[in-house]
Amino acid sequence: MDTVDLARLQFAITAGAHFLFVALTLGLATLLAVVQTRATFGDSPVHLRMTRFWGQLYIINYAMGIVTGLVMEFQLGLSWSGLTEYAGDVFGSALAIETLVAFFVEATFLGLWIFGWNKLNRWAHLALIWVVTLTAYASAFWIMVANGFLQNPVGHVLEGGRMRLADFGAMVANPAAQVAFWHVVSAGMVVGGFFMAGVSAYHLRRRTAEQDVFRKSLRIGMGVALPAVFLTATFGGIGFETMQPAKLAAWSGDAERLAAAQAEMVAAHGPGDYLPPVGWVQASGTTMMLLFALMMFFAGLSCLLMLFRPVVRGFRLWHWLMTLMIPVPFLAMLAGWAFREFGRQPWTVYGLLKTSQAMSPVSAGQMRFSVVAFLTVFAVLIAVNYWLLARHARRGPAAVTLGDRPIEAPVPAPTF
């Protein structure tokens, strides 16, 4: 592998690891906010237990999302300084707004939500989880604006070999960003819904305590997952309208269309190979769509089955399958992301800056060191985090420590 491929691999490892966890964060935060709203408005103990149980899983998952997110924020400057130099004046503003409006506020308020449990007024505590949820969406929005710009650069002018932001509104309204945003947040709801239903099904199958918590959770999870699957597919379909000709040609696999896309690029940019890796584009796109079909059938059937209470309580084969389905939306997300990003190659900024030109002047040795280091650390942490998620999911609401007592009971000894 040459250095550019290593740099791409490193970005893919970081972004992929991040995506696995933030996808669940997006979906689970929303479900959590809804459940806590029920708990707070209805003064409902069962919903409070649900909030604490799903909240603890949310936090374990969030921890991995944030540490990979920290690394993400530095990846562009580290390995892709050619990109930041060339286009940073344009899409860097989306990244800046993301860190301030979303990341900063989300983390600050999540800290308050976790450590302020039983300490803050319960309405304030409820407001916090909604802010955390909305800022998670804001984060996805601004990241998709930045990514959409790389897919379909708009709102800029070229001056002296560098880009300048000419129309901020056009960059934000970029269809390649807007459609992808709705596609991704709906997919996040699919991930969250299948996760909630799958964990609940485990407890129903094992006939553990707290049947009420898990019957309700299963219904919420699947009830959200089904419409979310359709929304995801709808926006995914619209996404094809915003797709680059070369990506579409690679997806179709049609030799004539590929040749036409190549000829068009050669005419515009001179000789070179301008086609994305056809095999990867087709494999990832096909995987995403097959998994979509599987999820649609499963969620559709499940939504019918869950109308009948005895089925929800006792149909163990269905419970077992539902738990097995938990990884499927994650795989579909990763496949969809690979489809989008492989299809953009060989460009970093489509039609303007090639990936080979975007890289930092970093030596092969430095790049090898960092790829191995990030890969090792992330692999270990992901394994530990999934083990921990599974452990806490299995142990059920009785073992939850989140919000079980006032944390740091106030005493009249102010620090400052």
Binding site: L70, G116, S370
Partner: protein, 246 residues
Amino acid sequence: MEIFILAFFALGYLVLAGADIGVGMALPYLGRSAAERREVIAAIAPFFLGNEVWLVATAGVLAGLFPELEGELLSGNYTVVVVLLLAWVVRDMGLWLRGRVPGARWQAFWDGAIVAGSWGLALSWGLLLGHVLLGITGPFAVLPALVVAALFGTHGMTFASLRLRGELRARAAVLSGGAGEARTYALTSAALVTVGVLAGLRLPLEPGSAGVVLVPVVLTLMPLLVAAQAWVWWTFRHRVTGPSYL
């Protein structure tokens, strides 16, 4: 104005998150038993998440307002920045995971990750600041790195003495001596700010062209961000009385 925004977030990070780094470095000294360590961690627990995002914001401000400098600074110090990020990840996972499984060995392992990660953070900050400020690389770069690490450590110990009680507070106050905890904290904060400002002055602070749009947005946001953080500081203004969720 671009420079003011960058300085605001970068210096805010050094002062606020610097204390978390220092407490992590001093964890084996401050907390001699598992229970004590948990209480020491409770001193920073509600803050560390809101503190570390000041650096995320700094990275965002660099990306939006100083894209050329962002690339130069990060890729020009590639290995140090990679080590800094890895140390940060290890420290954070230590904090998040230590309390999630009961068991002495699990907690001792992740406490070790917190200490190693905090030292890694402090030393890589030292190397980075030493390189930017004094242009030192190679074996001698260890000297400024150790000075910066000592500064983070002192700052963290002083913060711990402001947050803890009893025996733990006395241990943390060993460096402040008779000067008083609040005064020492002000002093170490000022020292960190000074190092940060001096290093900043050595950087080529040429803003990009996005400021026309971005500066008003950021200036509008800043009071809201500070207010959100102030809510955290106010909620957890009391001394630690027991273990936290971590």
